[in-house]
């Protein structure tokens, strides 16, 4: 079996099958269940209340996915370093990019599982409303680069910072800032600073696309600009992670 697949398989197992991974999934389903249950019993819902909940859920899934990817990405280098397993990992006959891809493979599989868990919730609350299929497709198209980008970002941070805790703090602050459009309505982002922030923030791009497709019934094809922002983010984060891993390889005792 390819070493990349071996690393990805090991990461996936640790993420999904051990207690830590199951606790993640339980927390995510508890949040989504809370949201879904809020709707039951409300007899004065309009079509848009229904779409609003689907939009909120899609945003939450993206945020939780990005959080998971960030933490796991950080653990990839900084965690291995603190556990003393970084040097043995670097000594394996696998290219640095292979290690990077293998580690990210674990994050990607975890994201797929989270997406899969979100589908029944979205179906339960959204199948009688509007734009459910389009919303799911938008989540896959724009949520995936955002989530994987945060995984790469975490790897890059973990490679550059000597302590995992410092990296975690910086990463969480960055994620909080990026995910702020989930709680700040569009009217609060209409200032020049808000618009500039929206233009470069991949999370804003994803959230704006969710809003446009799920609530405003716009076509997914009209979200190309938002997709580009998320793909640029993914490319920049990949570059950040690759440079960080190479730096670790150069400066570590085995480099």
């Amino acid at each position: 079996m390819s070493p990349i697949l071996l690393i990805a398989g090991k990461e996936t197992g640790e993420l999904l099958l051990d207690l830590r991974g199951l606790a993640w999934l339980l927390a995510m389903t508890a949040v989504l269940s809370g949201f879904a249950l809020l709707l039951v019993g409300d007899t004065e819902l309009s079509l848009l209340d229904n779409a609003q909940v689907v939009y909120d859920m899609v945003g939450i899934v993206t945020a939780v996915g990005a959080l998971l990817a960030l933490v796991v990405g950080l653990d990839t280098i900084a965690g291995e370093r603190e556990r003393g397993s970084l040097v043995p990992l670097l000594l394996t006959p696998v290219a640095r990019d292979g290690i990077l891809l293998g580690k990210l493979g674990g994050v990607a599989v975890a994201w797929v599982v989270m997406y899969g868990l979100a589908v029944p919730y979205l179906w339960a609350v959204g199948s009688t409303g509007q734009n459910l299929a389009a919303g799911l497709l938008t989540l896959a198209l724009l949520g995936t680069p955002v989530v994987l980008g945060f995984g790469f970002f975490g790897m890059g941070l973990g490679a550059r910072l000597p302590m995992a805790r410092t990296g975690l703090l910086i990463g969480l602050i960055a994620l909080l800032l990026a995910a702020s459009p989930l709680v700040l309505g569009p009217s609060l982002r209409q200032s020049a600073i808000g618009r500039a922030f929206d233009a470069v923030n991949p999370f804003s791009a994803a959230v704006n696309a969710y809003d446009a497709v799920i609530i405003d019934s716009q076509a997914i094809t009209a979200q190309a600009a938002n997709l580009v922002v998320t793909l640029v983010w993914l490319a920049l984060a990949l570059w950040f992670a690759r440079a960080g891993v190479r730096r670790v390889a150069r400066t570590s005792p085995c480099g």
């Binding site: 879904a36 079509l47 339960a124």
Partner: protein, 171 residues
């Protein structure tokens, strides 16, 4: 408060309709293809014709759609933002006898009984021309079905919690 707003809006519209509409008149009619008993999520369309009935041209025409809910106890003006992207029609001028036709599509967002009216003003006139009312009732459509939500919202966390417990016991 809502009742007061509704009463004020209705009074203004009726007063304007009762007054001379100057050289402009407006007709409003539902599209014959509209569903007979529409429900939430359906689309309706209305057709309006603004006509200059005077002998001279009228400049700066603006016509706009208003929607109010008229259910007892729920009387209120409705924000058209979610219901329609087409909220107004304009024309630089209407010559004598000329007409301006417009389609007013509506997406039915919430159940209830509603009334729409098209109002028109021109640049010179201080008067408002209003169309006849068009009323329609939107049937409720279940947006969330609890028999779908409950099994998922309760079942999935329980399933994962069971896996967590099993994993802990398995060591």
């Amino acid at each position: 408060m809502r009742l007061m707003q509704f009463t004020l809006a209705l009074t203004l519209t009726l007063a304007a309709a009762a007054a001379s509409a100057g050289d402009l008149s407006v007709d409003l009619a539902p599209d014959p293809k509209n569903p007979a008993s529409p429900q939430m999520g359906d689309n309706l369309s209305f057709h309006s014709v603004i006509r200059n009935t005077g002998a001279t041209a009228v400049d700066g025409i603006i016509g706009w759609l208003s929607l109010v809910q008229i259910d007892p106890g729920q009387e209120q003006p409705v924000d058209l933002e979610d219901w329609s992207a087409h909220k107004a029609v304009t024309a630089t001028a209407l010559t004598s006898g000329e007409t301006l036709e417009a389609e007013w599509p509506l997406r039915l967002i919430q159940a209830g009984t509603y009334r729409i009216v098209v109002s028109v003003v021109s640049r010179q006139s201080g008067e408002l021309a209003a169309s006849p009312f068009a009323d329609f009732t939107v049937r409720e459509k279940p947006v969330v079905e609890s028999e779908r939500v409950l099994p998922v919202a309760i079942g999935l966390p329980l399933l994962i919690a069971a896996a967590l417990l099993w994993r802990r016991r398995a060591g």
